[in-house]
Point group: C2
Chain length 229, copies 2
Amino acid sequence: MSRSLKHVEIREYVRGLVEGSAPGTAAPSERDLVDRFGVARMTVRQALDALVGEGVLERFPGRGTFVAGPRRTPTGVASFTEDMARRGMVAEARTLAAEHVVAGERLARALQVVPGTPVVHWRRLRMADGRVVCLSDAYLDHGRIPGLLDALPASLYVELGARGTRPTWAEDVLTAGIATPDEATLLEVPGGAAVLRHNRRALAGEVVVEVSRTVYRGDAYTMSLQLSS
Amino acid sequence: MSRSLKHVEIREYVRGLVEGSAPGTAAPSERDLVDRFGVARMTVRQALDALVGEGVLERFPGRGTFVAGPRRTPTGVASFTEDMARRGMVAEARTLAAEHVVAGERLARALQVVPGTPVVHWRRLRMADGRVVCLSDAYLDHGRIPGLLDALPASLYVELGARGTRPTWAEDVLTAGIATPDEATLLEVPGGAAVLRHNRRALAGEVVVEVSRTVYRGDAYTMSLQLSS
DNA sequence: TAGTGGTCTAGACCACGAA
DNA sequence: TCGTGGTCTAGACCACTAA
């Protein structure tokens, strides 16, 4: 039994008709859909309203309803793996540490846990197409990601997604600086090299799921951002 | 004559009722509004749909309609002046150059003009609370901002807003590097100091309104970003 | 002029939540 | 039980666009 609402049925019918069509292609008129489905016009409008809200269709009074062009979407919360994939590169990681540590004052506050709570610390050297790009330290509340250290995932965000806590919101801070001697060694750059530091607090809903510090080689990484309004 | 549509009148009435109310406060029920305005319920729903879409109200079936909590909004397209104001600091600028130049190949492509077009170049040293923070070079299509150089505004984006072409979309690229000797002199930092480079292409709708390169002192500027989804 | 989307009416039945 | 929002009907008139 796939009992479905009429406006949902109409919406999905139109979505199917329209997907793959070039922007500007005419969608069925509201009265066409009224005849086809034998419903009231308000019901058809409810279906089309949803598609217009999603950016699938555009309405032009007096002309009709048409397939909308692709919407520009601002940069979202992405992981290193996804960031590299978008550039057509393959991300790799070498785990340098995967351990439990006790959260100090600042880390505890950032992670929304009480100081002294055991926290997962995961340090990775990250590569893109085999070249060293950055060094990242991620901290996660152990209680919210049980067993993470037992089977380290290839992509943290994908793993969090599978657990239903993929970050939907991130508070990032970016600064430019000089690599410390340890960073320079790990990143394989000379002393005095420029690095891009990227600190993140990632939330899923209202819950902090990750606090991380990443140090990028200035000569091997550029950060791209699309911002709207 | 302020002939206004009924759903608009109801929407603004409810918006006025609700603004300043604590999140969770009950809004009038749909049937209350039907009685008060003497309209059909579909009209009331159209008004409330708009407020729900804006994030002003939330509906809970079986319970009612309530004032929504403040929405988290991702970082938008802001100018240096606005960026500093958000931190409670006062932005200042010292203009180092304000001139017409001829667009070369790359700049012309970025600005969507034909090579050889006269373009405005505006170089400023920027301060926050009196401290030097960055050096910025902005390029604008002279034809789209006539007279800009005759009366240099305090904030470029505010001026563009007044002309109806404030950027609504930005494509930013961030890198970390070492200050060149010239940059070091202007930014008042020693040789070898780290800088954050910020290149921007800002659009209003589909039109490129600004192409800029900004060099921030690594020790005097941190970039904050909020990202969603 | 014919067709389109925008607005609006005056009802109806339903599932759900709170009392 | 009563009030709420969710869904739906079968019309209507309007302004606008394109032919």
